[in-house]
Each structure stands twice: as C-alpha cells, then as structure tokens.
Amino acid sequence: MRKFFVITIPILTIALFILTMLSDKVLKNSLSYDDNIPLSIEAIIIEIENDNWAEARDKTDLLSKAWDKVVKRVQFSAEKDEINEFYKNIARLRGAILAKDKSNALIELNEAYEHWENLGK
C-alpha cells in the first residue's frame, strides 16, 4: 500500500499531466462529423475559387463553429496566441467574403490552416 502511494500515484499523476499537455496534437483532429478544420478550409477555398460567395459565407460559419469545438478540447495544451490568431483569420475572412475579395480570402484561409497545423508543435 505504501509503495502505491509513494511510487504509483506520483508516476500516474506525472503521466496524466504529460498527456494533458501534449493532447493538442491529437485533439485538434476531427472527432465528429462537424469539427474537421482542414476539410472545412478546403471546402471554403473551392467555393471562393468558383465565386460562390454565399456558400463560402455559410461554410465560414461552419468553420467558426468547428473551431469553437476544437478550441474547447485543445485549450489546456495549446498556446493562446495560436488560438486567437485563428479567430482573427476567420473574422478577416468574413470581411474578405463580404467584399468578394478572392486574394485576401485565400490568404486568410491559408494562414488559418497554418495556425491549425502549428497546434501541438
């Protein structure tokens, strides 16, 4: 019993902490049908390239919801700046879609993808 308290509990605690701190690498990936960030970004890029601005706007809303879901999972391990930058990209993307500005919209989407990639690095 003493060994359990002195050795097992500290080792399990440290292991749990390490898992929590490194979990963003796994938890940023899709776990359900509506939280796939790369797929959402890709879908918006296709709509923008085809000048389907209304669909692009709808899919941006979906991307925003998907990101909200992912943030809830990765917030304990990811850095705040990376998370906030993604939110900024979404906000600027909405502006670019309103202005029907293809180049800026694509820039924001690519940068957002980079921020998603950087989670867990």
């Binding site: 500290p10 929590t20 917030q75 304990f76 391990s77 850095e79 705040k80 998370i83």
Partner: protein, 242 residues
Amino acid sequence: MNEGLVVLVRSIISFFTLLIFAKLLGKQQISQLTFFDYVLGITIGSIAAELTADLSSRAWPHWVGLLSWATLGYLMELITMKWRYAAKYIEGETTIVIMNGKIMENALRKMKYRVSDIMALLRNKDVFDLNEVDFAIIEPNGQLSVLKKAEYAPLTPKDMNITKKSSGISTELIYDGILIEENLKQLNKDKKWLMNQLKAQGIKDVSEVFLATLNPSGSFYVDKYKDKIKKITDIGDYKGPY
C-alpha cells in the same frame, strides 16, 4: 477559450509537479540551503509560475524546463553526495574566520565579509565580547558556528559530576480532545492511568483537553481548552488593528 479554467488546470499541473519534484529533491531545511540551492528553488518556482499563468505559450515547454532544472538539481545532489571533491567545489567549504581568538583577515577578505558582519553574526549567537570566542567558522550556508573559550563555556552537569537521566521526547496522548491510544500503548500506559492523571488536574473528560503529552521520564503536561487566565499579558508595543 476559457482562460480562468485553463489557468486552473495549469495551476493543478504545476502545483502537483512541484510537490512531487520537491519530494524527490530531498528534505533539506531552508537554513541548511546553500546559495546555489536557494537560487535553484527560486528558478524552479518562477518556471512553475510561468507554467501556470503564461498562456501565450504552451504548458509543455515550461514543464520540460521545470523537469530539467529539477533533474539537474537532483544530479548535483547525487554528485555532491558521492564525490567529496565536487561537493567542495559546488557547495563550498567551511571557512575559519576566528582562530584561537584571532580574526583571520585574509579569510574575511576572501569571503567578502566585513568585521561588522561577523560581529552581527556573533551577536546572533549571543556572543557580545570577542574575548569569549575561541573559534568561529562560516558554514557553506552562510551561518556562523561559534566555539567559546573553555572559561566561557556554560557549566554542564558533567562538569559538576552530576548524573542526569535522559528525559526523552514527549509524545502526544491527547490532541484536540481526542485520545491517541497508539501512543498510550507505546509508553506502556493505559486509559485508567491517564484518567487518574487528568482527575488529579481537575479534568473529568478527555474532550476538555486541548493537548496532553508525556515523556519517558514521566513528565506529564496538560493544556485545557479553558485556560482560566483572567489577565492576559499583552506584549504588543504599538496599538494595531487587533
């Protein structure tokens, strides 16, 4: 992102990590710490604070920093334990600053201590006259150890050829109104004996007692919740809020 929640989780991580590492790093008392141990403690504490509240970076690199410092500290401890030569270099060594009643000026200069510092340290040891000092040694943790001249050393029972029994260490028998039966057994006493002792002091029940201790030589101490002291001495020197 719920910042409050994230800080709470990170606090739990850093708090318990620090607790586990501190247990691994040993049980040295603050007064035994060398300057390096002191700096090590401050640095580890500051990394733990960053791990808790610096949300602009991931928790992981801070945690690795914490682990690295704790591991290096542990290695240093191992090295100084196993290799005396390294211990002398890392922890420093004792320096004699007063030898046979004479102040060692060169040693003081080397240690960057002024005579006034030594005088202050001596006063902390209840020595106000340098004539009383035979040896004074600065320990690696910066404290001064003093050996008084034989004529100033306190008189002991041995000097008077008096034999005294060891009083031993007091053991708690009652704490916060609760009887600790294990300790009672350890001292070969029973509840009846304890109740008789309490009765002799005018106590009817164990719950009236805040603390009762007994040492192997038989000295019994009792403190009741009701102290019956009418005039409490106030040692405060200035009127404060309490």
